[in-house]
Symmetry: C2
Subunit: 401 residues, 2 copies
């Protein structure tokens, strides 16, 4: 057998990804399956954008290497987007085009953290934060998020202690939040900012769900904490329903930009010109179409969030659930359901749900080992299917009784 | 100033990439510039392939997440391509779709090497081998390649010693070779294979230039060393003149496949479905078109290689050059030219060439610190321009006298 690195064996043993759970579908007895695993928009992307892509794909020079920082056209379009929507006087020189948001996580960690450093992660958390850190020899340190009454916040003492004990190279903040669908409030963000400032730590702000806010307002972290403190990370995957195009960006202090460009140059070069050009044109020359599209999608997910929360709330003996303020997901607590069914863990529950009632979800442990009593379900199915999913879970609970 | 990791500062100080040198163009007094920096095909990709891309971009589901291992259609097409052209009974389960060949380098190192391990690199070498290793905390150990009479080979004792002293986790072999454009002979490959086998080391075989062999025959390393010893890495960038599409693959033992899929999942997810589908259809349903295209391009580069070698050979007092057997590049020794012009290094020579005569090249040091006396020039310009480039270099030498 070929030798495999110990680090992969260790990383992968605790480094599950959501994608692995989409494969449960094949085991389901009950068809059709309701797949609520991925943050995969079930709406189609704007038709104008798709046409722009097809046109740009045929363009002269479309097949040539992209520069690792991204095309000037793309970086200018992103800067203009940030000026108009975030009120930030963004410079194209500080934008780096990325293959979605993910490479920005690894690149940011590479940029500011050395081997053996600690990085602060608020958990539950997107799996790639921890997996990318481990790949790069950086130690993730966890601070547990708390939520109550539909509000997401940190334990101030815990986070302060983490800063003091570990002197983290980077702190990752994600709001709107995956998997809970909640927002960190300004007070919490301000506190993290103060601590980061005090310890001269950069904040990686993952804002891929910034356009899907159902209640309240989204203010980008770089507006709150200052542009020199924040690496702003964003993707068009959710906003424009194009996760498969792999197109996103980061906006960062100049030193981080340099390191990210070096990361791109050595890990995947960059993203196709035609994809950059199509998105750049769409978000500038078709601004009205974009705003109308995003608004429509936002309302759609907002309604689904309400409907699904209500439907799951009817299983209140077994499931605790908050209505999300934003994003793609619910993160219900299912401890009592696990207990009632005698399956022992969220992983087993998810397998049972897949097999017996054809509802696919992701166990909470994908977002941190301690989230054993939770599952993540996405809002990426029509309202009637979300109601049906809740009913099927209820049926499973009855059957298991 | 934001804190930047020491590792980036160290990596980037010795980790130049070819892309940085393409920017010299802006300094050139003499226009138009002849850009010989990148392995960027100047031919257009097959029109059929471009049309397939535009069609697939509009397809239902084109915008959805790709699976991190790649679509079944793509992996099956690659397996069939390997069966038909390499005579390998390839299994689609052992193919991983990659964003070009580059992510395969980082993924392979991650898969088999632990932090602090040594990795054996034959130098001169593609920069990403060393930069990706350093990013992942792996120590590159160099063995110098030698060439003579248009033959590329290793120093047997040096490579044996490297294996014994460093017990490398991985050895990277690249043939056809960048930057020299030469081939490692079978005897050399066999020797590396024996040593790898003896030390239970995997071989990463970078074969991105496999389709551009002007003289001799290309036999994939996995045919020579066995499929369990080799991670075969390939890209369609050069073969189909689509470097900007970022599409390639690796074929590896199952354990490495798993680790590479995990790497993809956490670093960039995967590559767009429409790109995978267009390439998959082209290399299977349009096989005849593909073979005819590649053959035409191969002949074109072969003629350019001869013409440019002859033109540079006329400066024999100043430049030593071999005619490449394959690939995109010449790697002439320019020590005497550097001396005559009194510039002291290949970096300075490259700057002078750019500024004074508008010929852009890459200094040998990009391919290893010790290659100070060399430059790399690509074959990605028409014959008349390559003759003109040689004439301009001659003119610079005269002027400098």
């Amino acid at each position: 057998m070929a030798r495999v690195s110990r680090r992969f064996l260790e990383d992968s043993s605790s480094g599950a990804t959501t994608m692995a759970f989409a494969q449960l579908a094949s085991e389901a007895k009950r068809k059709p399956v309701i797949d609520l695993t991925l943050g995969q928009p079930d709406v189609t992307p704007p038709q104008t954008l798709v046409e722009l892509l097809a046109t740009e794909a045929r363009g002269v020079g479309a097949s040539r290497y992209p520069p690792p920082q991204g095309l000037a056209e793309y970086r200018e379009a992103v800067a203009s987007y940030m000026r108009d929507f975030y009120g930030v006087d963004a410079e194209p020189e500080r934008v780096v085009a990325l293959a979605g948001a993910k490479p920005g996580i690894a690149a940011a960690i590479y940029s500011v953290c050395d081997h053996g450093d600690a990085m602060l992660v608020l958990t539950p958390h997107f799996y790639a934060y921890v997996n990318a850190a481990r790949m790069l020899g950086v130690k993730p340190v966890m601070a547990r998020l708390r939520w109550d009454g539909g509000r997401l916040f940190i334990d101030e003492d815990e986070v302060k202690k983490a800063f003091e004990e570990h002197k983290p190279c980077l702190v990752i903040v994600n709001t709107p939040h995956n998997p809970t669908g909640l927002h960190l409030d300004r007070e919490t963000l301000k506190l993290i900012g103060d601590l980061a400032s005090e310890h001269n730590t950069l904040v990686l702000s993952d804002e891929v769900y910034s356009w899907l806010v159902f209640r309240g307002e989204h203010v980008p972290l770089l507006r709150l904490l200052g542009e020199e403190r924040v690496i702003h990370l964003e993707s068009f995957s959710k906003t424009l329903a194009i996760p498969g195009w792999r197109v996103g960006f980061l906006y960062a202090p100049r030193e981080v930009v340099k390191a990210t460009v070096f990361f791109n140059s050595n890990v995947y070069t960059g993203i196709p010109r035609f994809i950059q050009l199509a998105v750049a044109k769409y978000i500038t020359a078709y601004r009205e179409d974009m705003v109308e599209y995003v608004e429509r999608v936002r309302k759609l997910y907002g309604r689904r969030a309400r409907v699904f929360t209500e439907a799951l709330s009817q299983l209140e003996d077994l499931i605790d659930v908050y209505e999300p303020a934003a994003g793609f997901f619910l993160f219900p607590r299912v401890e009592r359901l696990i207990e009632k069914l005698g399956v022992g863990s969220a992983e087993r529950l998810v397998e049972l749900m897949a097999r017996e009632v054809g509802v696919l979800a992701v166990p909470g442990t994908v977002f941190g080992e301690e989230w054993r009593g939770y599952i993540r379900v996405s809002l990426t199915a029509p309202e009637s299917r979300l109601r049906e999913a809740a009913a099927r879970i209820g049926e499973l609970a009855t059957r298991g009784a």
